[in-house]
Amino acid sequence: MAKHETPLLDQLESGPWPSFVSDIKRQAETKPECWDILGVLELSYEERITHWKHGGIVGVFGYGGGVVGRYVDLPKRFPGVEHFHTMRVNQPSSKYYTTKFLRQLSDLWEKHGSGMTNMHGSTGDIILLGCRTEELEPMFWDMTHEMNQDLGGSGSNLRTPANCLGQSRCEWSCYDTEEVCYNLTMHYQDELHRPAFPYKFKFKFSGCPNDCVSAIARSDVAVIGTWRDDIQIDQAAVKEYIAGNYPGNGGAHSGRDWGKFDIQKEVIDLCPTECMWMEDGELKIDNSECTRCMHCINVMPRALRPGKDKGATICVGAKAPILDGAQFATMIVPFMKIEKENDYEELIDFIEKIWDWWMVEGKNRERCGECMQRFGLPEFLRIMGLEPLPQHIKEPRSNPYVFWKEEEVPGGWERDVVEFRKKHAA
């Protein structure tokens, strides 16, 4: 029996899609506090203001992250959601679960919380929605002791690292994303659970430039798989595609007839750098011009594969649009080997060099990318000890973003103009 009248929310159930309103109503049959969620939301729809407050001193002992406090500002009217804290649970690499794990976690959350989850939040974590303050520690105890499962990051911490399926399912993955993600998660447990930075910091791992975890758009350090030799071509398979014997795009989008596969129209003409052509019945690629857009490989996966000399491109500074709009990450290191043999030393050194700088220079609540923008790319490269490269900018021939310093110029800024003009007429 509904506790509150919710005509505006009820209307959302009339559409053709599954509705979260129906889900919450169903949950409310066993968890009555869920009626109050609907009541608060209905009120917010009417008044067009939020009635949630967030933050505070909630958390589990010793952890400075993983719990986000939430309270309603009308506790007498909506007592079921007087406290409605969120717990972030560190998802396993690539989000592989056993059904046993999911059942255990769901049972625990039914016991200690509202039973409502968000699989997965934009952070990548398993988000458990709705818990009273006094249930946080028991939930944490059960989760850690019965399931060997830890919380993820929130606040000014390292956020829970995330990765794509990597080599577990994908032949294009240029490094083992799961292994790196797991190792760095374990390596940085302190930064993950205790606030260390001026603001949040994220790293994400994609195995190839398809970037299935959107690392380039969302993470302060995006590790995106790539290769530095030539795309592998199986010319016999190219012919099979042209003959129509292999379906394009691995058979995706096959719900309608797109006509005969046309390699010129569907692959060559769509190459952003125009580095492909057919010659004597064979597909040719000028690999020096390839920008790793992945389109040709996506369309003809049986004919084309990433090269053999694999590693990752490191991009820095993406963020969501809270200040100054959304920002993609900037390519900083075109190619880095990502290998377990040296415990990912090169990547770890790179990350910690950023931290050492940003922890000192970053303003409170300033993301690493915003700090980079404030200092400028040339200064950031100098801080990181990296040489400027043409790949750092879109149009290296027209963008003079690197300026000489006086000490780098023979004779400095002082010149004998008369002497100079003898050789170079004005």
């Binding site: 933050g55 400075g64 992250g65 009308l74 007498k76 606040g155 606030p195 930075f197 931290w355 609540r365």
Partner: protein, 83 residues
């Protein structure tokens, strides 16, 4: 020369006690010892949380530190809205 750990803890505690606002960013503690690296200060501040001398306070997106009694007073004032 960087302060000894106990001296740094005392400086952090004094800063957190005297600051006008009860919640401080980790960066606010850097002035307690300019010769210590930020990560050292972060580790000491977190040790003080474990000892109960400091407490975390989270805005949801940012985590701050403060003296437990000051933060609890502030939180008690803020908690509970009007109906």
């Amino acid at each position: 020369m960087a302060l000894e750990k106990d001296a740094l803890k005392n400086a952090i505690e004094e800063k957190a006690t005297k600051s006008p606002k009860p919640q401080l960013y980790i960066k606010d503690f850097y002035v307690c010892d300019p010769d210590s690296k930020p990560r050292v200060i972060k580790n000491v501040a977190n040790e003080m949380v474990r000892e109960g001398r400091l407490m975390f306070w989270s805005s949801g997106s940012t985590t701050m530190y403060g003296i437990p009694s000051r933060i609890q007073d502030e939180d008690a004032k803020a908690e509970g809205g009007e109906d």
